[in-house]
């Protein structure tokens, strides 16, 4: 079986519950960062704690690209999903035929294989319409 590697270490966890995106939160001012920040970019405090983000959010915007990208053949969709923690995540979106994208629709996180590079499976995060 091919080796599985995350697209970016520490950005998500996998698990039987479907996994979650991992952000970090400033212990002083509460600002949340995804991807994680080394120090708080709002107040410069150096202590941050890891927090999982909600799996569901609303679609803020989307586009369907008609040219290839690193992992996806055309057409492939991507968008911004607003999560309840006031974090806006950029992510690839799964195109589901009978659920066309619409600004404001509910989206759900999926952790899955994005593609293969050098015989390794690249695992990443995407969102799909609920």
């Amino acid at each position: 079986m091919a080796e599985r590697v995350p697209i970016r270490e520490g950005t998500f966890r996998e698990g039987p519950d479907g996994g979650a995106l991992l952000a970090n939160k400033c212990k002083a001012c509460g600002q949340i960062f995804f991807p994680k920040a080394k120090l708080c970019l709002a107040c410069l405090h150096e202590e941050l704690e890891e927090v999982p983000l909600s799996k569901k959010g609303t679609l803020y915007s989307y586009t369907i690209a008609h040219m290839p990208s690193s992992f996806f053949p055309p057409p492939h969709a991507m968008g911004y999903v607003d999560l309840p923690e006031s974090v806006r995540v950029f992510a690839p979106l799964k195109i589901i035929e009978d659920k066309p994208f619409d600004v404001g629709m509910e989206m759900e996180l999926v952790i899955e294989k994005l593609g293969e590079v050098d015989e390794k499976e690249i695992i990443g995060y995407v969102f799909k319409p609920v």
């Binding site: 697209i7 369907i64 690209a65 600004v103």
Partner: protein, 381 residues
């Protein structure tokens, strides 16, 4: 601080010219600017050059072609705002009294660069770029919000491209001199929904140069010099502070600083050259620059105000969409274009009676930031 004038402007032909080196493109722009200024290349005391791809010692590389060596030469990069950064660099040198005359050069040979025929690649550590967030995708996402929030339609976006291609037909330097209809724009190949191919700026080779000098020197050459009334350059803030991606704190603040320095407001501007890398983007920039109220960019476009003959013609050159976008050259080229209009020398694309013009350029993208940098110069005569 001393007043600074634009003494000479020049640009190379814009187009796909892989047989011409970046140094040669730069040389053509410098020679045109020096001739326009009525000076010898050896009168240049300081040079700032901007170039993004395969760039080392660009000033030296260009100026050795015109007999200029052994002066202070500085090479800068600020993504697509690099040209604005070079102009501002020379402006600071002269305003502060370090030098009396200098040249800003922007040059890019896209067809011979490592990204020839490609999109601008994401940086290696850019996770959003790896996940597919290219420039057209980013502007596709913005366009979707413009439609959701401001009532923009695909036809509005196409109209920007129709307008700028019309302007480009009047500009001998333009890469594309072809009129298009809204239908033709909308029916061209879909790139990133709702942005079609004819709403994206092309890959372009080209260079531009401007000679700046102290007002004392300028008055020896002309009785009515073009003055740099404002020079503003700002880097972007964090994107997590933005609730609404269609508003640009970077653009708004850079414009505010420029207007304050020039002692004027958007109502005083007679023409604008701005970063229209995508047709959808131009509508956002109307609002950043205060040409209309926030959220009213679409209405401003529909009113005809930004077309030649309208209240504030925007991109009379043809813009990046039609003239082409040699990345680092564009920030210098917009200053040259505005100067040409203020002198009344813009031929068929002339904005009649132009006294005050604004040259804008915006560039760069990094995860977590709104953009890279925004540069604005306001010129008066």
């Amino acid at each position: 601080m001393r007043e600074v004038a634009v003494l000479g402007v020049g640009q190379s032909t814009f187009g796909k010219m892989p047989e011409i080196s970046a140094a040669e493109l730069g040389r053509d722009a410098v020679l045109a600017a020096v001739k326009d200024a009525g000076i010898s290349p050896r009168d240049i005391q300081v040079a700032y050059s901007s170039r993004l791809y395969d760039a080392v010692i660009t000033s030296q590389d260009v100026l050795k072609e015109v007999g200029v060596t052994s002066i202070e030469m500085i090479n800068v990069e600020n993504a697509c705002a690099g040209g604005s950064t070079a102009v501002r660099g020379v402006w600071k040198e002269i305003a502060s009294g370090h030098y009396d005359l200098g040249i800003a050069i922007g040059v890019e040979s896209m067809t011979t660069s490592p990204i020839a025929r490609k999109l601008i690649p994401p940086q290696k550590d850019d996770i959003e770029g790896q996940l597919g967030l290219t420039m057209p995708a980013l502007f596709g996402l913005l366009a979707r919000r413009q439609m959701a929030e401001c009532g923009a339609t695909p036809e509005d976006f196409a109209q920007v491209s129709v307008k700028n291609h019309h302007h480009g037909c009047l500009n001998p330097y333009a890469q594309y001199k072809k009129e298009f209809t809204v239908e033709e724009i909308l029916n061209s190949r879909m790139i990133c929904d709702p942005i079609t191919l004819l709403q994206c700026c092309p890959n372009t080779d080209g260079a531009a140069a401007v000679v700046l000098c102290s007002m004392d020197i300028a008055r020896k050459h002309t009785t009515n010099p073009v003055k740099i009334a404002a020079s503003a350059l700002l880097s972007a803030g964090y994107s997590w502070k933005r609730k609404d991606i269609t508003s640009s704190p970077l653009g708004v603040e850079t414009a505010r600083r420029a207007y304050e320095m020039a002692g004027c407001g958007p109502e005083d501007i007679d023409l604008v050259e701005l970063h229209d890398a995508f047709s959808t983007e131009e509508i956002l920039r109307y609002e950043d620059l205060g040409l209309c109220k926030p959220g009213e960019g679409v209405a401003f476009l529909r009113s005809g105000a930004p077309a030649l003959g309208g209240k504030v013609p925007v991109n009379p050159s043809g813009g990046l969409l039609s003239l082409g976008h040699p990345l680092s050259a564009s920030g210098v080229r917009v200053v040259a274009e505005v100067t040409t209009h203020l002198r009344g020398q813009a031929g068929k694309r002339q904005v009649q009676g132009a006294k005050v013009g604004l040259a804008h350029m915006l560039g760069g993208f990094a995860v977590g930031l709104e953009a890279g940098a925004c540069g604005i110069h306001i010129l008066t005569r």
